[in-house]
Symmetry: none
Subunit: 228 residues, 4 copies
Amino acid sequence: MASAPRKRPAAEPRAGQKLSPRGELKRTQILDAAAEVLAVRGFAGTMLSEIAERAGTQAGSLYYHFASREDLIEEVLRRGVTLTMAHVRAALTELAPETSARDRLAAAIREHVRFQLDVSAYARASARSTGQVPAEMRARINREFRRYGVFLDELIMEAMADGAIDPGVDRSALRMLLIGAANWTTEWFRPDGTSNVDEIADLLVRLMLSGVAKPKPGRRLPKKSKVD
Amino acid sequence: MASAPRKRPAAEPRAGQKLSPRGELKRTQILDAAAEVLAVRGFAGTMLSEIAERAGTQAGSLYYHFASREDLIEEVLRRGVTLTMAHVRAALTELAPETSARDRLAAAIREHVRFQLDVSAYARASARSTGQVPAEMRARINREFRRYGVFLDELIMEAMADGAIDPGVDRSALRMLLIGAANWTTEWFRPDGTSNVDEIADLLVRLMLSGVAKPKPGRRLPKKSKVD
Amino acid sequence: MASAPRKRPAAEPRAGQKLSPRGELKRTQILDAAAEVLAVRGFAGTMLSEIAERAGTQAGSLYYHFASREDLIEEVLRRGVTLTMAHVRAALTELAPETSARDRLAAAIREHVRFQLDVSAYARASARSTGQVPAEMRARINREFRRYGVFLDELIMEAMADGAIDPGVDRSALRMLLIGAANWTTEWFRPDGTSNVDEIADLLVRLMLSGVAKPKPGRRLPKKSKVD
Amino acid sequence: MASAPRKRPAAEPRAGQKLSPRGELKRTQILDAAAEVLAVRGFAGTMLSEIAERAGTQAGSLYYHFASREDLIEEVLRRGVTLTMAHVRAALTELAPETSARDRLAAAIREHVRFQLDVSAYARASARSTGQVPAEMRARINREFRRYGVFLDELIMEAMADGAIDPGVDRSALRMLLIGAANWTTEWFRPDGTSNVDEIADLLVRLMLSGVAKPKPGRRLPKKSKVD
DNA sequence: CATGAATGAGTATTCATTCAT
DNA sequence: TATGAATGAATACTCATTCAT
């Protein structure tokens, strides 16, 4: 007789996925806009008004497509990982079947960097704002993250099994350092041409595999000339 | 962010640096608290109320010590870099004078990681929240960041000059990838003992120098063949 | 409450009452739904979305049948009183012609309670949400309410004229107390069987007529005189 | 490492009750204002802006004293019942010790009406808006309501035990009908002098005890027995 | 006739900031 | 120096209303 719990506003396209192409389009525009804002401002700094503006809508209209700010952001972050993994996986598929585990791992790292810097705002958004996400949402998204982590871990394991990578290395630390270097590129990379995506990707791969040191100086060969 | 911004309206100790020891102490407590909050929440997510609580004060009281939220945060971030550089530099000073450029660079990277993970919330704060800082503040802080960048760059150059590192490598990219991997550790490092700071630091150094690949499997010996 | 109020902008069936049977049906469904919602949530708490959902429509579609939220609600409330009066009046009609004024009044009270609790959501809606209605609408609906008030008042007057009820009683206060007790039942009545409508109705009638006190204790006398 | 749950804004006088007299005063003003608004607009129709205005504050300032709209309202409603019960109880205390159970019950009903109409906006607020309150809050407040219900129920039981009231009557229904009639007065009572509080209260008491019917007309018999 | 989609005026809430004491 | 109290601009969110299809 008293009030009962309410919820759900007037419309509800959030529930059923069956959207008209028009609604589907706008929804995508909103997600895209959100991804770009998140990639730049991070979780806490992202305002619905900015997303709306970029998507050519009104802030209030976002609620027709998403139940809340968190819901919208969550979907962006989730897509970020999902898309990244899909991209990397697809890239591996296109390698020659006989490609070595080592080269497959290298390709994965390279594509991760490239996808993030060159292609997807979603990936950038994930990289930059996951860290500030409230615990609850964190927990919900974690599955996707873990999945990608496992995916990469398997590549590393295969490379180890293949004798391409030192099996004594802490796989987890290795992976996180590589991912970290890759994700951090979004903080300093200048898309204006100053930086070159492929060079960066290649350099990271090189770090993983052989590093940038030249064979021990002083020993082996003459090299000594450069005493400093 | 709220109200109309104004400049230095409150009392005055911010002008003259000579504070009573008690005021100096509180100021430090506030900075420490702010560093911890920033390290966890990031720039946009940091609230004065949380800082105040951690510092054992009231939010309003912060304004006796700092002109504004931005001023406080700016000082924390600036300290973050400054302290990191000071720590790394000090560590290098303690090395044997004859230490090679390569080993000096390695030590720098190692200490950067260790300082961040083990020692200083300021360093963590800088690492995690610099990216979200508004352009204005960014510009103001940039000097410190650039100074540290130059410092590292010189270490790299010396190692190159010394023949320890491939001079063909893009120094800037190399530095940012290393710093990135290091900074990103704050996102995944578990201080509960699961992760080990030194191992991580060593692994990063190893990546820089030699990578983790084992000599091309199948080809015994030729080692030297890879003269480059 | 939102936007700028306007008058009758939509289609037109609201003008001419002749609707296709289908439209008429939907209109009724909407009114029914609105009555149920109003009965539970009250005026301010009633949302078009909930009404629409219950009526199997979309909130926007309501505007084909009603010019505004207020219009819809107004009709429900008006119906609430109208129907209640019609019900009570019909019940009185079915009484034996020689029924005393006193018994007619009793029957009216009884039927008011029963109609509200057992039969009509419109009646419940009226009872529960009239009080919160904005002054303007209030004024518009008042005619119906007054009409019912007069109707009841006449029953009371007749009972007084007939010597059944103490003519010294403030008719208006009496009526409002009775109606109040009746309307308030909607707040506590449990339709789950815990409460019994007829018992409640009878008790209210008894309160009106004789109250629940036993003849002054201490004086044992006529007792039996009370044939009823 | 990720964000942790937040809460609690800057200040927190809500937690500790120790408020300076000034804060205590404002808090009371706000509660008073809220009570008045609630009494008129009901739960859903009550807006913080109106409360703030009446309390001579800004809407945002309410949050210094109360954690949320619901918290504020909850306290008002709770006070409504608590105060009513306290008032009624106090009134009973002042009765002569030998006052009969029947007269004590009558006094309780009378004071309930008077307190509500004449004295306390809190009581009116409770009476008018409890019905629309969301289930959660309802549950929380229910203790107070039940306590008052029990209090009244005991009075009824004593009157029954004393032979003053027909023990065959459903105590719960009786109580709710009486309370209902009393609470509903807030919907129609005109404080402008048209209505008279004491008359209304007395009439309700009379309804409870003896009703307003005159001994069955037409049948000449005991008539005189009823000395009263 | 119906609805999917959008709008925009509000409403509760947050939080940096102020200031009298 | 500190703080209790307040302010007000900004932000997420709601909901009646509109309208093209």
